[in-house]
């Protein structure tokens, strides 16, 4: 029981970080139909910007976090505007865009490695005191991360549900041509979505690095497995599905790690992903798209 509870605690932290990341990832897919496999490299680049602001200019970690978020937003916007959009205008099949995304990922990850080198880094601030609830242990840092995730995801919910922009995003995602013909400025909506989802990506990358403790330029490379599993579980392009998928995958990987070999904790995400792709590629609640 105690193993279960303590691993559940780890699961909640993993889930909080994963939910932030997956919501951004799935929003990008929703409005542009791109599986942005370069997402992990943007995450880790944002984390490094936060790190250098924090360590070299001695900014407070939470102020420096703003730099990471801004990096994610700007870089994501630029990648979409100057790489994905021009390729998509040529009406290429989705697989070509995925290859382009892999190319961007290699450039992003290893470009960073060329600059910072192959060594490991860690943030200076201490994780704070240890809190103890119902058999679960959290550091102050971890509680802060969970708090940030809850607040930010609530904001995303408000944005999608109660603002004109959110409505325009959902319309663009459902049917871009119809949305454009109904007067939605789809290009503007797409750009805004990439900025917002990029900010989520930068935030997720930074808290991911803070939570991991030690990280290097390639730390987020395998994160794409968790991201894809969480997204496909909730249905690609569904922000609420992504939140649910992230919580499920986050908790499931950590709880399974508590009972089996922790080195295999991604296996459960992998099994979920392959199962979803084989049997329900549009998510548990997702609907089949028409031909």
């Amino acid at each position: 029981m105690s193993v279960f509870l303590s691993s559940l605690g780890f699961g909640l932290i993993t889930a909080a970080v994963l939910a932030l990341a997956t919501v951004g990832f799935t929003m990008q897919f929703a409005v542009t139909n791109v599986l942005n496999l370069a997402y992990g490299s943007v995450m880790i680049n944002s984390a490094f910007v936060t790190y250098f602001l924090n360590v070299h200019t001695r900014l407070n970690a939470w102020v420096a976090l703003g730099g990471g978020v801004a990096t994610g937003a700007i870089v994501s916007y630029l990648i979409n505007r100057f790489i994905f959009t021009p390729f998509q205008r040529r009406n290429l099949p989705p697989i070509t865009i995925v290859m382009v995304a892999l190319g961007v990922d290699l450039c992003g990850t290893f470009g960073l490695q060329a600059i910072v080198g192959g060594s490991y880094f860690s943030f200076r601030q201490s994780p704070g005191r240890l809190w103890h609830f119902w058999g679960m242990y959290f550091s102050t840092l971890q509680l802060t991360i969970i708090g940030i995730a809850v607040v930010v995801l609530a904001l995303v919910h408000w944005l999608l549900k109660y603002t004109r922009l959110g409505k325009a995003m959902r319309a663009t995602s459902a049917n871009m041509n119809l949305a454009r013909n109904s007067g939605v400025r789809t290009q503007m909506v797409i750009s805004t979505t990439w900025i917002i989802s990029g900010a989520l990506c930068g935030l997720a990358g930074t808290v991911f690095a803070m939570d991991t403790g030690v990280f290097d330029a390639t730390s987020a490379q395998l994160y794409i497995v968790l991201l894809l599993a969480a997204m496909f579980l909730g249905g690609p392009g569904e922000p609420y599905g992504a939140m649910l998928g992230a919580v499920t995958i986050g908790v499931a990987t950590e709880v399974s790690a508590g009972f089996i070999n922790p080195q295999y904790k991604e296996v459960i995400a992998f099994v979920v992903l392959i199962g979803m792709l084989m049997f329900r590629p549009y998510g548990i609640f997702g609907k089949e798209k028409t031909l």
Binding site: L37, P94, G103, L106, V225, L228, Y264, L291
Partner: protein
């Protein structure tokens, strides 16, 4: 001097291994349209199996410091054969991922993630693969008889590798330059349409994955026999991306392009960086190497998407001089008004129709057929009967469910309720390609030509019962299927001539105008020798004069015993040719009868004819 010769032998072996891998991946990706992002695991598994088969039992050899399975101490060439078999077998579980109609990019990420995860498992599970340390002291073939460190041995090994990659080149060419290869490329361009023409997508994809896996496995075996060690770190998922970069650079769909790409990218990158002096930051060069691979992919896809050696256009008409790339004509100036000599064509002999329509029994029928999308019912309880030897029309306002009904009849779309009967059999759950082979052929409302096949290839690939249109048939070579293919090409040329499109025989179908593509689709459907032909707005974009001549020919076809059902908006066509006509509105059958009878019915006029 000796050092240079040793180095040369190494380069020859590496180059052959890379060339084989790129050739195999190119057949999967460039010809069959399978984006196998997990390709590297096939090579890795082949290498591992070759190593584990050639080594002795782990407990006793080399003091038992490494663990692995097998340990059978098999002599050459059995470990290599085992490697090829293992690569082929490994393909089978992935067939469930690529065999169904999953979006290409979704299947690709599934394969990518599989490669990532398998690598991680291997890294951590010691009893099977000795964990991250991998296996070393793998015996070289014949090392008991010759000295593997000798220069002569190394060159003989290199020569063997080269000979094997040349053999792979010719085997693959034999498969791809056959009617079967044509079907593979058709599937690559549009799998739904290939399926509707009777190509078994699952079988085609499976055989190519297995073939590719076997070659990958063999190439891994060649590598491991030469370098004598195997470690999971060398087989990361990103190595697959390097191979994809090679194919993009060399030219997808071109075997020579794959070899060129193999020499330029994996081999070139590996070898050039050897000559850069060591730097203070040891990870800088490998990091920049990856950045260069990423840039290469992006820049080539943008500036030269077809690679250095683009896919070759197959000239089937035999007249090499007359193959202009079609000017994408605007509809107005289209030469379709000259109409060919369609009136004089004798489809009866061209399509080998023998019967005459004497009885009009029901050949295809539905019982309470329904289909819902997102909970919205598009077709509900449609029960219709299509009679043999008649040209049945389907009309109705937009969104009436005409195309959906047609798609369900052909098996492109599964119904959510109801049953379909064909010649007295329940075919509701029969897959689309089987229905096509049983004689139900459909056309599509949206453009459905195979874009990177020539017009003539589009037509020929639809002809059923081709002896070269299977893996086995193709592997028996041109002597086996060549004569028959020649006859098929002549038939297709005759058809093309009748429709007045001979001058486009060797143009890519994707470059034609909208009206021309319609005609290609009608011709293709006819050459598929349908018993029941389902046409979805066949005349849209076709000049009215030509449309009427086609209509006349369709009437002659039904008089010869063919059954045709046609969705069409043009009421003049319905008036002239269709009897009976079924009216659909809001997913239900509203009325049925001759056009004259329908015009007399108030509810039909209200629902459709005026509005």
């Amino acid at each position: 001097m000796n050092a240079i010769l040793f180095y040369l032998a190494t380069v020859i072996v590496y180059g052959s291994v890379d060339a084989m891998a790129c050739l195999a991946l190119n057949v999967e990706f460039g010809f069959a349209g399978l984006s196998n992002f997990g390709f590297i695991i096939f090579q890795a598994v082949g290498a591992y199996v070759a190593a584990a088969l050639s080594m002795g039992p782990w407990q006793t050899s080399n003091g038992g410091f490494q663990q692995y399975v097998f340990g059978w101490h098999l002599p050459f060439p059995f470990p290599w054969i085992g490697a090829a078999l293992a690569g082929g077998l490994l393909a089978l579980p992935f067939v469930f991922l690529v065999g169904k109609r999953l979006r290409g990019d979704f299947a690709a990420v599934g394969l990518l993630v599989s490669a990532v995860l398998l690598n991680q498992l291997v890294n951590n599970y010691v009893p099977l693969f000795n964990g991250a340390a991998g296996i070393s002291i793998v015996p070289a073939p014949f090392q008991g008889f010759f000295n593997p460190q000798g220069l002569a041995y190394q060159f003989v090994y290199g020569a063997l590798a080269v000979v094997l990659s040349i053999a792979v080149y010719f085997i693959l060419r034999r498969i791809t330059e056959s009617p079967y290869g044509r079907s593979l490329r058709a599937m690559r361009d549009n799998d739904v349409v290939a399926d509707a023409l009777g190509k078994n997508i699952r079988v085609q994809r499976t055989s190519i994955m297995v073939l590719g896996g076997m070659i990958a496995g063999l190439s891994g075996a060649i590598l491991v026999g030469f370098i004598n060690l195997w470690a999971p770190g060398a087989w990361g998922y990103a190595e697959t991306i390097v191979l994809f970069a090679a194919i993009i650079v060399g030219g997808a769909g071109n075997h020579k392009g794959a070899v060129l790409g193999a020499i330029l990218v994996p081999l070139g990158f590996e070898e050039i960086t050897r000559f850069i002096p060591p730097l203070s930051n040891p990870s800088l060069i490998p990091a920049l190497q990856w950045v260069a691979i990423g840039l290469l992919i992006i820049l080539f896809l943008w500036f030269r998407p077809n690679g250095i050696l683009p896919e070759r256009r197959r000239i089937l008409s035999g007249e090499t001089s007359r193959s202009p790339d079609p000017v994408v004509a605007d509809e107005a100036s289209e030469p379709l008004i000259n109409l060919g000599k369609i009136d004089q064509m004798d489809f009866r002999s061209l399509l080998r129709l023998e019967g005459t329509a004497t009885q009009h029994d029901v050949v295809l029928s539905t019982n309470k057929l329904s289909r819902a999308f997102h909970g919205v019912t598009v077709v509900s309880d449609v029960s219709i009967e299509i009679q043999r030897g008649r040209l049945t029309g389907l009309i109705g306002p937009n969104g009436a469910g005409k195309s959906t009904t047609l798609a369900m009849l052909a098996g492109t779309l599964a119904p959510t309720g109801g049953t379909i009967f064909y010649e007295g059999r329940d075919v509701t759950s029969m897959p689309s390609h089987e229905r096509a082979r049983a004689g139900i052929i459909r056309t599509f409302q949206l453009a459905s030509e195979f874009k990177k096949l020539t017009v003539l290839e589009n037509l020929v690939c639809a002809i059923p019962h081709q002896s070269g249109d299977s893996f086995r048939g193709a592997s028996r070579g041109k002597r086996y299927w060549g004569r028959e293919d020649h006859e098929n090409i002549e038939r297709a040329k005759e058809m093309l001539d009748g429709f007045g499109l001979s001058q486009y025989a060797d143009s890519y179908a994707g470059g034609l105008s909208g009206g021309q593509r319609r005609l290609v689709e009608i011709m293709r459907a006819l050459l598929a020798e349908p018993k029941v032909l389902l046409l979805d707005e066949p005349m849209a974009g076709v000049h009215p004069n030509l449309a009427h001549k086609i209509g006349d020919q369709l009437t002659r076809l039904v008089d010869s015993g063919m059954t045709i059902a046609m969705v069409e908006h043009e009421l003049a066509i319905m008036d002239a040719f269709c009897d009976p006509v079924i009216v659909l509105a809001e997913g239900r059958v509203l009325a049925q009868g001759t056009m004259a009878e329908l015009r007399a019915k108030e509810e039909v006029v209200e629902a459709y004819l005026v509005g």
